[in-house]
C-alpha cells in the first residue's frame, strides 16, 4: 500500500489528518462555551455572536483566509503579539490549524448547541436541589447528556477541517511538507500536465475519509435522539 502514493502525497495525507485533528481539539472548548452561551444564556448581543460564529459559513473562504492573514500575519496585530512568545501561524502548519478551526467552527457550534438545547432543564434543576453548584450541574448532567451531540459535532468539524481549502491556501499558502494539505496537493496536481491521475487518487482518499466521518456522525446523531427520548424517564 505504501507505493500507492509518493512520499510527497503521504506527507500531504498525514499533514491533513494532523491539521484536522488539532483543529478539532482546539475548537472544542470554545465551541462548547459558545454553544452553551447561545443555547442557555439570553444576553444582549446574542444575535451578533450568533452571526459572527456563522460568518465563515457565508463568507467566501478566500475572504476568511485574507482576514486571518491581516490579523494573524507576521505584521498583523495579533500575529505580532504571538510572534513575541514564539508562535508563528502564517505560512506554518499551525496557521492551517487556525484556518480550518475557524472554517469548521459554525458546524461544531451548531451541533453542540442543538444537543444542549435538547437537555431537559428540569434535570438540571433537580441536580441543583441535590446540592450541585452550577458548574457541577454542567459537568455531571448537562455535558454527559449532550455528549453524543458534542462527539457528532467534533466529527463534522474534523471532516470539514480535512476538506478546507480556500482559507488555508490564502492564509498559509501551499508549501509541500509544511502547509500542503490534501486539497492543496490535489490543486497542485491539477496545475501541471499529466497530474490528473494523482489528483484522482487523492480525491478518492478525501472522499473516503469524509464519508467515514459523516456516517460516524449520523450514527451518533441517532444515539442523541434516542437519549433525548429517554430523558423524560
Amino acid at each position: 500500500m505504501a507505493d500507492w502514493f509518493t512520499a510527497e502525497e503521504w506527507t500531504a495525507i498525514a499533514l491533513s489528518l494532523k491539521v484536522a485533528a488539532w483543529a478539532t481539539l482546539v475548537s472544542l472548548p470554545p465551541g462548547i462555551a459558545v454553544a452553551w452561551l447561545l443555547a442557555r444564556r439570553p444576553f444582549p448581543g446574542r444575535i451578533l455572536l450568533d452571526g459572527l460564529v456563522h460568518l465563515p459559513l457565508v463568507l467566501p473562504p478566500v475572504v476568511t483566509g485574507y482576514i486571518l492573514l491581516i490579523l494573524f500575519g507576521r505584521q498583523g496585530p495579533i500575529g505580532k503579539l504571538l510572534a513575541e512568545i514564539g508562535i508563528v501561524l502564517a505560512f506554518n502548519w499551525t496557521g492551517a490549524v487556525l484556518a480550518c478551526a475557524v472554517m469548521a467552527f459554525p458546524l461544531l457550534v451548531r451541533a453542540i448547541r442543538l444537543s444542549l438545547e435538547a437537555v431537559d432543564t428540569r434535570l438540571e434543576q433537580a441536580a441543583g436541589t441535590l446540592g450541585a453548584p452550577p458548574w457541577a450541574v454542567f459537568a455531571t448532567v448537562t455535558l454527559p447528556l449532550a455528549l453524543p451531540g458534542v462527539v457528532a459535532g467534533a466529527i463534522l468539524c474534523f471532516a470539514k477541517a480535512l476538506g478546507e481549502f480556500g482559507a488555508t491556501i490564502t492564509f498559509v499558502s501551499n508549501i509541500p511538507g509544511v502547509t500542503q494539505t490534501l486539497p492543496s496537493a490535489i490543486y497542485s496536481h491539477l496545475q501541471v500536465p499529466g497530474g490528473d491521475g494523482p489528483a484522482l487518487r487523492l480525491t478518492l482518499v478525501s472522499a473516503a475519509i469524509a464519508i467515514i466521518a459523516l456516517v460516524a456522525s449520523e450514527l451518533l446523531a441517532r444515539r442523541v435522539r434516542r437519549r433525548v427520548e429517554g430523558t423524560d424517564a
Partner: protein
C-alpha cells in the same frame, strides 16, 4: 421549622404566602393552577419571590441559590438522571455535601435502600424502573443529600391506583422514621389521612393554614 412570608408575581398571577410549618408532614391542597408547585419552587429556590422572606430553622434562605439550601425536592415526574444507574442517582447528592443527615433520618445508602426496598434496583437504569420504583428512588436520592426539609409535589399523581397503594406505605415509613419536616402537595387529601400534621390551602393567590378537609 419553616417560616414563610412572601409574595410572588408573574404577569397576572400573584401568590402571597404566610405560614409556618414544623416537623412532620404538612399537606398542601388547592385547585389546579392555584400555585401549589410555584410555592414549592419558591421554597426550593427555583423561583425568586418578589418580596418577603423564607427562613428555615432561623436562617434566611431567600438569597441562597437552590444548591445551598439543603432542601430535598421530589418532583411529580421523578426526574432521575437517565445516564446514571440507580446507585449513582442515589449517591449524587453525597458528592456535594459533607453534612450528615439530621438524626434520626436514615443517613447511609444501606439505610435508604432498606427504608424504601430499592436494594435490588441499584444496578438498573431509570428507564428500566416502573413509575412507583422511580418515585422511591427519587425519594431516596433526595434523602441522601441530607436535606433539612423535604418537598413532595404530588409524588403519586403519575401513578395508577395499584402503584399508589404500593408507594403509600413507604411515605408513611418516611414520615415515621425521619422526623424531617415535609411539605406535600396533593389533590387527594384522603391519601394523607393519619399522616398530615398540618394543612395548607393555596387558593385565590393566597397560601394560608387551613383546617383538615372533611372527606
Amino acid at each position: 421549622m419553616l417560616d414563610l412570608d412572601l409574595t410572588y408575581r408573574r404577569g397576572d398571577f400573584t401568590l402571597a404566602a404566610r405560614f409556618a410549618a414544623g416537623p412532620g408532614l404538612t399537606a398542601i391542597t388547592g385547585p389546579s393552577g392555584a400555585g401549589k408547585t410555584t410555592l414549592l419552587n419558591l421554597i426550593a429556590g427555583l423561583l425568586r419571590p418578589h418580596s418577603g422572606d423564607i427562613r428555615l430553622d432561623g436562617t434566611a434562605l431567600t438569597d441562597l441559590p437552590p444548591h445551598r439550601r439543603r432542601i430535598g425536592y421530589v418532583f411529580q415526574e421523578a426526574r432521575l438522571f437517565p445516564h446514571l444507574s440507580v446507585r449513582q442517582n442515589l449517591r449524587y447528592g453525597r458528592l456535594f455535601t459533607h453534612h450528615p443527615a439530621p438524626a434520626p433520618a436514615p443517613a447511609t445508602l444501606a439505610d435508604i435502600t432498606d427504608l424504601l426496598d430499592i436494594g435490588p434496583l441499584l444496578d438498573r437504569r431509570p428507564r428500566d424502573l416502573s413509575g412507583g420504583e422511580k418515585q422511591r428512588v427519587a425519594i431516596g436520592r433526595a434523602l441522601l443529600a441530607a436535606p433539612r426539609l423535604i418537598l413532595l409535589d404530588e409524588p403519586l399523581a403519575a401513578l395508577d391506583a395499584a402503584r399508589k397503594a404500593e408507594l403509600l406505605p413507604y411515605l408513611a415509613r418516611l414520615h415515621d422514621q425521619t422526623r424531617l419536616p415535609m411539605l406535600y402537595v396533593t389533590h387527594h387529601p384522603g391519601e394523607l389521612r393519619g399522616l398530615a400534621g398540618g394543612w395548607l390551602r393555596v387558593e385565590g393567590g393566597m397560601a394560608t393554614p387551613a383546617p383538615a378537609p372533611d372527606q
